[in-house]
Symmetry: C2
Subunit: 210 residues, 2 copies
């Protein structure tokens, strides 16, 4: 096997699972290689350091998640329904992870932000780009809802950041209590944060599962 792209994929997959379970600092390169079933020499052929590997894991995870966010937030449905879809999708994803590994692993980007952002500037910069992109995606939907007169949020960028902050905070609680029900508050909280108009929202409020 050794120096093949298969080995690189194995290292990335093993690192992704281990970082999700135990964070970054607790891991050593030897442990990652053992879990990936590749010799240590392969690691340094593909990655110059553990930090370089973490950046590759972040990129790959965001590549996947950005697709999921786009599927939730884009399309022909009403803008606020799409935001709701993002929350439901996030909750479903965390619940599926909990069922397969026994615990809610939370958001890898939030986890690494609180564990690492003060320790490595390249990882901080990458996480900033990822959260900027998330806020941008939510902002686009909020701006659309505002154009339709459905929300009154003054600065849609600030509102989007507050919505993502609420998401990260509730995911933190879901992880802490190993309970995804905390995410059920997201939809009503989002409407409140956006100063959504009760009249305009009546249909959306009752359109999804309760």
């Amino acid at each position: 096997m050794g120096r093949t792209s298969d080995a690189k994929e194995k290292i990335l997959n093993a690192a992704h699972s281990l970082i999700e379970l135990r964070g970054y600092s607790a891991l050593g390169v030897a442990e990652i290689c053992k879990a990936a079933d590749v010799p240590k020499g392969s690691f340094y052929y593909f990655f110059e350091s553990k930090e370089a590997l973490a950046l590759a894991v972040l990129d790959e995870h965001w590549h996947t998640q950005r697709g999921e966010w786009a599927r939730a937030l884009e399309g022909d449905a009403e803008p606020l329904s799409r935001l709701r879809r993002l929350f439901e999708q996030t909750q479903a994803g965390l619940r599926a992870g909990q069922q397969s590994c026994g615990t809610v692993s939370g958001c890898m980007f939030g986890n690494l932000t609180l564990e690492l952002s003060n320790q490595t500037e390249p990882i901080r910069a990458r996480l900033q780009q990822i959260f900027d992109a998330q806020v941008e995606m939510v902002d686009t939907v909020i701006a659309e809802a505002r154009e339709r007169g459905e929300v009154t949020a003054g600065d849609t960028r600030d509102a989007a950041r507050s919505v993502v902050a609420q998401l990260e905070g509730q995911v933190l609680f879901a992880k802490l209590y190993n309970n995804t029900q905390h995410l059920e508050a997201l939809w009503e909280n989002c409407l409140a944060l956006l100063s959504a108009r009760p009249t305009g929202m009546a249909a959306v409020r009752s359109s999804g599962p309760t």
Copy 2:
């Protein structure tokens, strides 16, 4: 020096600073003892493990922070003004920390929740108790505001959890961007999450610094 309570205090202080800067997993007992300037034997005289030390650091930090939260949230001022005081105090504390060490270290409880709650059950349980207590303190103030007809939040416990979630989410952004200005959104977001009544809130909205 050795086995004196002075040595215990030194270990706790060193561990507190190191955990705040670099989290838990990245630290070794030898490094903590070196920073505390105590022999390694002293460590195991006072603490049976690094986990036991982390629990002691959490307890001490919460003892201090609970006092600060009580000073903000209790007293004769109007209930919502006291909530606002908590946000301002949190922002001022993070700003002071940033000025002294160059970076926003964030919330130690949030940091350790995302780094550790899935790895050690005793630390998860202690962090649950601490966040439960925070939510309880905020709940008490919200219930008081509701009795005065100033907020319309249905379930004050859920509302309190959403307010603390928003706080943790914005502190995450403050740490990520090393910028405490993100916390300025907390007050308006709190009013939105509590469905505070605009008329009742006019005085409070304009009573503090902008």
